[in-house]
């Protein structure tokens, strides 16, 4: 009951669907890169199982680069990336809004990866990387604002003025009360009936 809130782990994805998707990564790596790839896939799955999906995605892509030092053909790339997306979406069915979250995940993936793809074709890799990071930051901030609006945590301009005015009024009242109550030995009206 008294666990520190910082220590609450994010969903590490140890449900059976995630485990199947991690196994799929091993298979996909083995299929596209042979025994060495299978080893890389196993390492990726282990990282994912122990540390979480984002680390699996990171380790998997680094391993993929190591497995294909001269570049990867489109088919193996698609096969491996599909398994990565499967890992990404594996826990979603267990959530309360699987459809919406799946939509956000797919849209984000296509947008970020598509933007990177498009820019790499015409511009430098440096610009593509910067674009991905900037798009990610913008999308994240957008969701942050969406949350504030949905929960009513952002007063609109007029309400803000009103709220500030109310705050001022309350301060004035509290000053008056302090004057009344503290100087005059704060006590309520006695209940004695005479």
């Amino acid at each position: 009951m008294s666990a520190r809130i910082d220590a609450v782990p994010a969903a590490t994805g140890r449900d059976w669907s995630t485990l199947i998707s991690l196994a799929a990564i091993v298979v996909a790596f083995g299929a596209v890169a042979g025994p060495l790839g299978a080893l890389a896939g196993i390492a990726t799955a282990l990282v994912g199982y122990l540390f979480g999906i984002p680390y699996a995605l990171a380790a998997g892509h680094v391993a993929l680069v190591a497995s294909f030092p001269d570049g990867i053909d489109p088919l193996p790339f698609v096969i491996v990336e599909v398994t990565f997306i499967a890992v990404l979406l594996a826990p979603v069915p267990w959530t309360e809004s699987p459809g919406r979250i799946t939509l956000v995940a797919i849209t984000s993936t296509l947008t970020l990866a598509g933007a990177a793809w498009l820019i790499v074709d015409s511009q430098s890799l440096y610009l593509a990387a910067a674009t991905v990071i900037v798009l990610l930051a913008i999308a994240s901030y957008g969701l942050h604002r969406l949350e504030l609006v949905r929960l009513g945590l952002v007063p609109d301009r007029e309400d803000g003025k009103q709220a500030r005015q109310n705050d001022t009024d309350q301060t004035d009242e509290s000053i008056t009360d302090t004057d009344t109550d503290t100087t005059a030995k704060p006590t309520t009206e006695p209940t004695t009936d005479i």
Binding site: M1, D6, P54, L57, I101, L125, A128, R150, K185
Partner: protein
């Protein structure tokens, strides 16, 4: 919504992959960065959805066991959190304990994702008097990647009162009187809104005073009289001499009288009646505020009443043959009270005798003494009657001069003189100076003024408590006789003000003995 350390780590992982892609010139790594970014956004959206559902279904309550306590009291406060929706969020719920209160331990509870309800009770201490409102409950929700803090729940208020008499009895002979304050009748016709009577039209009445409905009913002109609206000008005379310090801590005579005086002042303000205050210490008037509108006077008077402390008596106690005593220590109280009682007894014995002696008792007012002495001055020097009585009345003259120097008498004298007109004088004092009080009451009721005497019986406040209940009852009976003596005077109401529990014990003792106060 703010990322936790874990959230920042995942974001950093995405950035690192993007940097690696640039460093190794491999766009493939950038796809990994994009996938991690997508994973992060999906979880952020999920957090938003979960938080929204949580807020809709969350119920948090902080409920103090008592909303009225005294300074230094400890009260249990229960914090309850209930969530109906199943989400993956862990909630950390913090009670909004006021700044002026202290909880024994951090007042926080956690609601894990699988748990629907949790509650925790902590003991909260209230060292500062006043009205303290709880802050809203702070709820921090997290899924491990993001966290958000919202406020929710009710904000109960706890009133913390300084130590004061817990229950004060105000009444007569142990019987509590009903509330008698409110709008009062003036019993005089005039302009007002309260109908007084209906009478036939008389020549001289203006036409607009005719009550046409009554006229129609009676076929002759009728006029409706209204009761005149008047203000009851109230003068509070509060004694805070050393004898008023008697009693347990926070429950002294002065504390009890202060509470009742505050009630009267409050009623005066409610009825918008003019109010004045004169406070009396051992050295004389300590504070004087002439009668003025309660709108102007109420707050200063309330402050003055609340800040009253018993004064310190002079080194040499002043006493007189009529039982007026000035106590300067607790030890002397019983002796002087005994003296006071013995003098009262003498008076009673005398008054129970011949009628002429009863007359002597009635002629103890300074004015009467002065008049009687003047009468005797006119009698023949050889007259045995005059020769015998003259020395006694000369003593009364000296008594008259001395009584005017008594603080309470002097204070009421000033208040009554300054008021100029009919006033309602409320005298808050104890029974340790009966002679002075008699004179003061007589002075206050001059001119048909009404007087309310609030008397704190010393017997109910003595530190020895009710050790000897029989003796205590006897002394209470003596006090009651004195109170009745005052109450018998026209336009005077005398009420006792004492701790309910002690008084009940004394009355009960009297009943069991078969007596009646």
């Amino acid at each position: 919504m703010y990322p936790t350390r874990q959230g920042w780590t995942v974001a950093a992982l995405s950035v690192v992959l993007a940097v690696l892609a640039v460093v190794f010139a491999r766009p493939l790594v950038l796809v990994g960065s994009a996938l991690i970014g997508a994973w992060l956004l999906a979880h952020q959206y999920r957090f938003t959805r979960d938080l929204e559902r949580t807020v809709e279904s969350l119920s948090v309550v902080q409920s103090p066991a008592r909303t009225a306590v005294q300074t230094g009291d400890e009260t249990p406060v229960t914090l309850t959190a209930t969530r109906e929706a199943k989400t993956e969020l862990t909630l950390e719920v913090s009670a909004g304990v006021p700044v002026a209160a202290t909880a024994t331990r951090p007042f926080v509870l956690s609601l894990e994702p699988a748990i629907e309800q949790a509650n925790r009770t902590r003991t909260v201490t209230w060292p500062v008097a006043g009205r303290h409102t709880f802050d809203k409950i702070t709820v921090t929700a997290t899924d491990g990647l993001f966290r958000e803090t919202i406020t929710a729940g009710s904000t109960p208020t706890v009133t913390v009162e300084p130590p004061s008499p817990r229950s004060i009895h105000v009444g007569e002979g142990g019987d509590r009187i009903a509330a008698s304050y409110g709008s009062h009748e003036s019993r005089r016709p005039g302009t007002g809104i309260e109908p007084a009577e209906l009478r036939e039209y008389l020549p001289g009445d203006t036409g607009k005073r005719i009550d046409w409905k009554a006229t129609a009913r009676h076929t002759t002109p009728y006029v409706r009289e209204y009761e005149a609206e008047s203000d009851r000008r109230t003068l509070l005379a509060v004694d805070h001499r050393s004898s008023l310090a008697m009693g347990p801590q926070g429950e002294t005579k002065l504390e009890a009288l202060r509470e009742v005086a505050l009630v009267i002042a409050g009623n005066t303000r409610r009825l918008n009646n003019p109010l004045g205050l004169v406070t009396v210490g051992d050295g004389g008037i300590t504070n004087y505020r002439g009668i003025a509108s309660s709108t102007v006077n109420y707050r200063p008077i309330r402050r003055q009443l609340l800040s009253l402390e018993p004064t310190i008596a002079a080194d040499t106690p002043i006493s007189n043959q009529m039982g007026t005593t000035s106590m300067n220590s607790t030890e002397t109280n019983s002796n002087e009270l005994s003296a006071s009682r013995s003098s009262n007894t003498q008076l009673r014995t005398v008054s129970a005798g011949e009628n002429s002696v009863s007359l002597l008792r009635r002629n103890t007012t300074p004015t009467d003494a002065q008049r009687s002495l003047s009468d005797l001055e006119g009698t023949d020097e050889d007259d045995a009657f005059g020769r015998t009585l003259r020395p006694f009345y000369s003593d009364q003259q000296r008594y008259r001069e001395r009584i005017t120097e008594d603080p309470l008498y002097g204070a009421v004298h000033r208040g009554v003189t300054d008021a100029q007109g009919s006033i309602w004088t409320v005298i808050c004092t104890d029974d340790s100076r009966p002679a002075e009080l008699r004179e003061t009451v007589s002075l206050a009721r001059q001119g048909g003024n009404e007087v309310l005497v609030l008397l704190a019986p010393s017997v109910l406040y003595e530190p020895s408590g009710l050790a000897d209940i029989e003796q205590t009852y006897d002394r209470y009976v003596e006090f009651e006789e004195f109170r009745r003596e005052l109450a018998r005077i026209d336009n005077v109401t005398a009420l006792e003000v004492g701790p309910t529990d002690r008084l009940s014990a004394v009355i009960e003792a009297g009943r069991s003995r078969g007596g009646h106060a």
